[in-house]
Symmetry: none
Subunit: 260 residues, 2 copies
């Protein structure tokens, strides 16, 4: 294995650089092979979206920040891919909204929990929940290692941000009465459809934006934040995301596709 040199002119340079960051995370033991495949699926939807943050994502980000700022016990749930791609931004956002950070893995092993916690601490995290004995509470309706959460984190959280989560767990968190904010490039995934607020965007773009917007929105009054949250409609946002993809494909299908 070697590191690839990507010409500055390459049309998909940004996407290839993100891919390399994930492969780095894989070599470091943060990411599992299944996480690499899941990333590829995300790449496909990012490609369909146009690899830029769209208005529907900006609206969802605003509602997400309102929910996080209004929360009593906000928690950011971190898996291997998220840790590999945006470790610094996770730590910054947690600090801005005063949220706990909790490691939450689909394929949970002690080594990986610890590798991820160490990686987050290297990026400035003071506390990382959900590692080893700390993940002693369980979520109902989930099997095996996937049900384990921290009694100081997700168990008592009222708002949970789950970048790159799976559908089963999103639904289980909803059934526990929590407000779930998902970041998912696929507007048709079960995660996207089961969350209260779905940011249809790449975590690599969404997280830095969230940090920036939080700094602005912290100045808003509680009632302004409540108004943003009340007037937010996730079904509408998901439909807009899908319509955006449709209109892009529709435009392209009219043009000449062959290149040579």
């Amino acid at each position: 294995m070697f590191t690839l040199w990507i010409p500055p002119s390459h049309p998909r340079r940004e996407s290839l650089l993100i891919r390399e960051r994930l492969v780095e995370g894989f070599k470091r033991g943060l990411v599992v092979p299944e996480g690499l495949i899941a990333h590829g699926r995300g790449e496909c939807f990012d490609y369909l979206i146009g690899e830029s943050t769209q208005p529907f994502a900006h609206r969802a980000i605003e509602a997400a920040i309102a929910a996080l700022l209004l929360a009593k016990h906000p928690v950011i749930s971190v898996n291997g891919n998220t840790a590999a791609l945006v470790p610094g931004e996770i730590v910054e956002l947690a600090r801005e909204v005063n949220a706990k950070i909790e490691v939450n893995l689909f394929y949970r092993t002690r080594e990986r929990e610890e590798a991820i916690a160490k990686w987050l601490r290297e990026h400035g995290a003071l506390e990382v929940l959900g590692v080893g004995e700390d993940a002693s509470a369980t979520i109902p309706e989930l099997f095996s290692e996937r049900r384990r959460v921290s009694p100081r984190g997700i168990l008592i959280a009222d708002v949970v941000l789950v970048p790159l989560e799976d559908g089963d767990r999103t639904e289980a968190l909803r059934k526990m009465g929590k407000t779930v904010i998902a970041i998912d490039l696929n507007p048709l995934s079960r995660t996207a459809r089961a969350a209260n607020i779905t940011i249809v965007d790449n975590v690599v773009r969404a997280l830095p934006l969230m940090v920036e917007r939080t700094r602005e929105m912290k100045k808003a009054s509680k009632s302004d934040l409540e108004h943003i949250l009340r007037s937010y409609d996730n079904n509408k946002v998901l439909q807009e995301a899908l319509r955006h993809i449709l209109s892009r494909l529709s435009e392209l299908s009219q043009t000449k596709l062959t290149l040579l």
Copy 2:
């Protein structure tokens, strides 16, 4: 890492089994981490297509076989993912159309070249080009290890079948005057758009079909094959693939998207 048990009733069982085959290939040293990501991307497009071979793919397969049967020096270019997914079918198709098999990697290392060649020989290949010293010729306009090809294979080929190829290399082969047949699930990829004939389908379905159709089409006359090839329109095929995806997404966008 652990092997997953997939219930027979699982809605995405077939796709998960293919994924496991790829992860096996990864453990065997045929596939690189980047190949897993690329596979995930393909999975997503396969999902959009409906995970079945569509009429536009059947038409492209027919033209592809005509081109291969009419070729003087047909070559099948094999990368890690292709070798992991359809090794036996590659060997069978090469035998049916009398094509050379050449290993052609984006991330080229001697160990991987040899692991892939060994794997193909275990599946019946008598000769595998593009390994070690044999990859001594170069393709113009490409950088580093990616430019290396066999002087007995791709260098002198008139028709090259490239399942799962990247855009740069597809364009470089076209500029060398070769007829390029791509198999690519993304009808908008540069590979799909730069190839002469693009089979928008999963290699796992397309390769066995190609072997079967070749056995029938071998009985056709040279002028019949020439007619098939002349009347084939790749732009039309790509547009149909895109329209098919579009109508599937469009159906989905009419329904209520939020689940809870």
